[in-house]
């Protein structure tokens, strides 16, 4: 109950944001919302499934590029292009996930990384379609979405709906099963749980919601750059999740907001942002094992 009230309060805060800040604040707010969705989708695997993906930039970038290409090169209407772009991420997650779930632990992580670097290489080299090194600029965004406020509210609605869907999935019977496979895959198998299949479905769901975030990011930037697919984007969402707390549903959302705000604030003061980030992460890892969200939680006596 407490968690839901906080979520509603956060939602109200985001809804009020355009009345309080100018265009820059609105842009920043939309970026935070998009990364909140990215982190929540990513944490379906990391926190809830115990699956360390080191290549989630791939699903983010695929939908981002696909939306740019469908809107601009093929002149699709947004209503078709957006789901189409997300579907591309889903398909990529099906194919890549099929191979990755055959491995576990560090081998799983390395394979996800390898596939995402492959996606990067394609985006980089296939410049006729993707713009390559220079990026895909001048995405044909519908006029009504070029208003910062209208784009902001569309983002808010999409992120809120997707987050609610992720919440329902995490707390569903499937979510419980997923936790069991995380805790003890061998025992889970001997309860009749097809562990690999559960992991593949999780991979696909996570990749799909990540795709939604990626497509929104194209609308925000009106451009796609090859850095979206670079492995540091995968590391970024990993850091967001750990910073906020992988053990709770909203931890990664908090981590996403904190990382982006800190990045902006600290970059203004010093060029050594990565150093500061490193120190912050050390503090969190040593003193806040539950992540930043741990600051807001009441201590449970036994758990």
């Amino acid at each position: 109950m407490r968690v839901l009230l906080l979520a509603i309060a956060a939602l109200a805060g985001f809804a009020a944001l355009p009345f309080l800040f100018g265009d820059y604040g609105i842009f920043l707010g939309a970026e935070i919302l998009i990364f909140i969705l990215f982190a929540l989708a990513f944490n379906l695997m990391l926190g809830h499934g115990g699956l360390v993906s080191f290549g989630h930039a791939a699903y983010f970038a695929i939908a981002a590029y696909a939306l740019a290409i469908l809107l601009t090169t093929y002149n699709w209407p947004l209503g078709l292009a957006f789901p189409g772009a997300v579907l591309m991420s889903t398909v990529a997650a099906v194919i890549i996930g099929y191979f990755c779930v055959r491995l576990t632990a560090i081998y799983f992580a390395m394979l996800t990384l390898a596939f995402s670097q492959l996606v990067w290489a394609i985006a980089f080299k296939w410049s006729d379609v993707t713009g390559g090194d220079e990026g895909f600029v001048g995405v044909a965004i519908p006029d009504w979405l070029t208003q910062p406020v209208s784009f902001y509210y569309v983002t808010l609605v999409v992120v809120a709906i997707c987050s609610a869907m992720l919440w329902v999935i995490v707390h569903s019977a499937f979510g419980h099963t997923l936790r069991a496979t995380r805790e003890n895959p061998q025992r889970a198998e001997f309860l009749g749980i097809p562990v690999r299949k559960v992991r593949l479905v999780t991979f696909i769901l996570s990749g799909t919601f990540t795709g939604v975030a990626g497509a929104l990011f194209t609308l925000l930037n009106r451009a796609v750059f090859v850095e979206f697919a670079w492995w540091t984007k995968s590391a970024e969402v990993l850091i967001m999740s750990i910073l906020g707390g992988v053990g709770s549903f909203f931890g990664p959302a908090l981590g996403a907001a904190a990382l982006i705000l800190l990045d902006r604030q600290i970059t203004e003061i010093t060029e050594y942002w990565p150093t500061v980030l490193g120190i912050i992460l050390l503090i969190v890892l040593f003193f806040l094992p539950d992540g930043l969200i741990g600051l807001f939680k009441k201590r449970k006596p036994d758990a």
């Binding site: 019977a173 419980h176 936790r179 069991a180 003890n184 198998e189 009749g192 749980i193």
Partner: protein
């Protein structure tokens, strides 16, 4: 009920199991005994699909299950517990059993219904059956060793197995815990008409519970029969029991 025919397992030229024939009838309590390294765990792993047998077949209720994946075996009616405790350590005892029930009732692919709300009564009833009613809300990893073993039994029972394989059910237990689990296993087996196949080091436990026995030595069975017959067998006395139970 469970038939093992000519089962063999070869590891890099070494036959860990060879010519194993076993037949476990409905309602039997069948013990597999033998010295350390005789291949008892390998046999269990080969029967439960954890290892692919090199030769031979395993059938359950007439269905060929040789080398089938564990999750399919469970759906076909086989349950198993492990030598070392094997539960979900960070979940509560209640959630442990609930997860098992969700799997058994095929609710895995339900993405909507809150998992917390499902099979609550059944979970509580199962915990009560294994004597853990009071410990439902304790985190499994913090339970005493014997209680974790009881919990594991509840997990295995959640899938309503026809045949239950127990790998050293008393391993690492105190004498009191051994007595408790012995009584519990016997009760549950009788109540549910379960077929049991188990390995065990504790000979007192074996002779107290088994209705049939197989003696495994160097990967091959050297004797089958009722506990009395096995006890009386000269060969078994010579290679394994060592006169300990001769009297």
């Amino acid at each position: 009920m469970l038939e093992v025919k000519n089962l063999g397992k070869n590891f890099d030229g070494f036959w860990a199991l060879s010519d194993v024939n076993l037949s476990v009838g409905q309602g039997e309590r069948h013990a597999v005994i033998g010295p350390n390294g005789a291949g008892k765990s390998t046999l269990f792993n080969a029967i439960t699909g954890y290892l692919k047998p090199t030769t031979g077949t395993v059938t359950l209720d007439g269905r060929d299950i040789t080398g089938a994946a564990p999750d399919r075996l469970v759906r076909d009616g086989m349950g198993r517990s492990f030598q070392r405790v094997n539960v979900f350590p960070d979940l509560t005892a209640f959630e442990n059993v609930q997860s098992a029930l969700l799997a058994h009732h095929r609710r895995l692919w339900d993405f909507f219904t809150p998992g917390d709300s499902l099979y609550r009564d059944e979970a509580q009833a199962l915990l009560a059956q294994v004597g853990l009613a009071e410990d439902a809300q304790r985190v499994a990893g913090t339970l005493a060793y014997g209680k974790q073993k009881q919990l594991e039994l509840a997990l295995s029972l959640a899938s309503e197995p026809k045949v239950l394989l127990l790998d050293e059910p008393t391993a690492g237990m105190s004498p009191q815990e051994t007595m408790d689990i012995l009584a519990l296993i016997k009760d549950l087996q009788e109540e549910r008409g379960l077929t049991l196949l188990f390995t065990e080091h504790d000979m007192e436990f074996v002779f107290a519970i088994a209705t049939q026995m197989t003696v495994l030595v160097q990967g091959t069975p050297i004797a089958h029969g009722t506990p009395e017959e096995v006890r009386a067998s000269e060969e078994v006395q010579r290679v394994y029991l060592g006169g300990e139970h001769a009297a």
